[in-house]
Amino acid sequence: MLLKKLTEACGASGNEKEVRDIIIHEISPFVDSVRIDGIGNVIAYKSGKTPAAGRVMVTAHMDEVGLMIKEIDSAGLLKFLTVGGIDKRVLVSKTVVVGKDKIKGVIGSKPIHLQKRNEWTKVLDINELYIDIGASSREEAEKIVSIGDYAVFDTQYEEFGDDRIKAKALDNRVGCAILVELLKSSIDTEIHGVFTVMEEVGLVGAGPAAYTVEPDVAIILEGTICYEMPDLDTYDIPTVMGNGPAISLVDRATIYDAAFRKRIVEVAEKNNIKYQYRKTSMGGNDSGSIHTSKTGCITTAISVPTRYIHSPLSVISKFDYDNTLALVKAVISDLEKEAL
């Protein structure tokens, strides 16, 4: 299953090869061309039956947040730093896999019995954590891992409840999966499908991709923040699980084009696709680099609400996934009729 394969692959920022290989294998029979650019982005082109009114680029970033080994101590324990915005409070006692050979490890720390009373109330600093790979000396550890190796959470894809999926890295393998499905489907309109690298460390891959493709319109597919406790006021809820794709208003990298947003909403309503707005201005995505590339372009971000992102496991709704794919398809076929 596509989303299982994609989420169980290792692909922290700068180390996207495993994800990239899966994607290229999946899409190659269905697109006219596919290539890897200098920084590692996948750039695919699908001609469709009719040319679009403008050049349409649909993107999803392949990378996930993770860890990187920075030191191996004399006891064979690995010190690490974070790659991308990981919530450090969730690291303790999680299982990870390290390096190309996916060496199993556990993130360890001082047991609660040995912590001083004032340590109980604060979050352990990352320097107080280490990855235990079962080695008992530096020499033993160095045989299977190296400084500079990446580590990612060791989380299995699983479906639960009536409608839910839990997995690591749904931000943004969910966007990758939707884009793969889009490229495999029989859409009429020509599109450029781009899978970017290193979004989580500063929208790095998207700039070079946009520079090459020169889109008039770009659609960014994402897994975005979802948090909806019942005691919250409506304005404190960024997105609601089960309310369909979230259309972005503004974030720290882009003010999304209002005319395009209006058109997307009209398309959703015409096709009876449930949608919502992403009601927070926090965060940012590849659109920031894309809309200011060269002489600029119009962008939107359409996201699957994702609970617990940037942690060892995240959760989405299948309903939201299906409706996001449906909305993106409908928007693209609408762009065929009339340019923005």
């Binding site: 304005y235 503004v250 003010i255 009601k279 201005s281 200011t292 060269k294 002489t295 600029g296």
Partner: protein, 330 residues
């Protein structure tokens, strides 16, 4: 030179927050169209006006966009919640009036807070007087952006109004554009978008224009009011020539030429060394293989408030300095 109060008043009052600059773009287009050879708009909405000449390409950039508030939620009682577009101060925003593109006016207030100095935008809301969510939704939609709604005032020394930042820069560029009859240089006047959210418009405009020199015209802050933070720029002391801010170190070729011209033509000027902030030259100077760029700043008190204040003399001197710079062969 006569100070054209009527034009300044007109352009500071036109709606145009970052990403929604179409109305101010139309006003400026109409103002300058008879004085330029080409007029175009790029994908992000920058207005690019060319006054042809045989020499080097110069990009002059003044941003059209304003700071504002974007609606993120309408609650069940019709109150609106918002996020910031650009540098919005909670203290300035409290108890202001705001206006939307369609003319809807609202009042900003906050939930009861113990200590007003700790006021956050998240605690504040816009009240448009609607009785229900449904009624509010007839006037305002999620994603709409509003701006401060306050009056323009002036006396013989100063103007004070919201949005001198950077409509006064647009004013300086328009007045210079109109006063230049013929030019040795190939001039591209850019009225840029989305400066307030990170110099986004200037970046794409510079890529399109591909200039040899860049010059931004924008407001800078002041150091001449009671107990103000030390800063060697004040009102009525002339056009400010920027040495640096956080986005650009002005190229010495541009900076020295501005100083030379000011001295030669007897235009009062002051040097500006700003330790924070940024303006369009920050994006222009890093375009492609790099562009020597500088900034002419209009000294302005109370930037990002509804009573931004600048000196008419300084504004006139900025026009004179920009005109002198653009007229001589570069």
């Amino acid at each position: 030179m006569v100070f054209n109060s009527e034009l300044l008043k007109k352009i500071v009052m036109v709606y145009g927050p970052s990403s929604r600059e179409h109305l101010i773009r139309e006003v400026i287009s109409n103002e300058i169209k008879d004085h330029v050879d080409e007029l175009s708009t790029d994908a992000l909405g920058n207005l690019i006006a060319r006054k042809k000449g045989p020499g080097k390409k110069v990009m002059i950039s003044a941003h059209m966009d304003q700071i504002g508030l974007i609606i993120t939620d309408i609650d069940k009682d019709g109150f609106l919640r918002f996020g910031n577009i650009g540098g919005i101060s909670p203290a300035v925003t409290f108890s202001q009036r705001v206006i939307f593109e369609n003319g809807t006016v609202g009042a900003i207030y906050s939930e009861p807070v113990e200590d007003l100095s700790k006021l956050k935008l998240e605690d504040m809301y816009i009240d448009i007087g609607a009785k229900t969510k449904e009624e509010a939704e007839m006037s305002v939609s999620i994603g709409d952006i509003c701006v401060y709604h306050a009056d323009y005032s002036e006396n013989s020394n100063v103007v004070f109004t919201p949005y001198l930042d950077d409509r006064v820069g647009c004013f300086v560029a328009i007045e210079a554009l109109k006063s230049i009859q013929t030019t040795e240089n190939d001039l591209y006047f850019v009225f840029s978008v989305q400066e307030e959210v990170g110099l986004r418009g200037a970046r794409t405009a510079a890529y399109g224009v591909d200039p040899d020199f860049g010059i931004a015209v924008d407001v800078t802050i002041h150091g001449d009011t009671p107990k103000a933070k030390r800063f060697a720029v004040g009102l009525h002391k002339g056009a400010a020539i920027k040495v640096k801010d956080n986005s650009v170190i002005s190229h010495p070729v541009v900076r020295e030429r501005l100083v030379h011209l000011a001295k030669e033509k007897g235009i009062p000027y002051q040097m500006e060394v700003l330790e924070f902030g940024g303006t369009d030259s920050g994006a222009i100077h890093m375009n492609k293989t790099g562009v020597p760029s500088g900034v002419i700043s209009i000294p302005t008190r109370y930037v990002h408030s509804t009573v931004e204040m600048a000196s008419k003399e300084d504004i006139t001197n900025c026009v004179a300095l920009l005109t002198a710079y653009l007229e001589e062969r570069l």
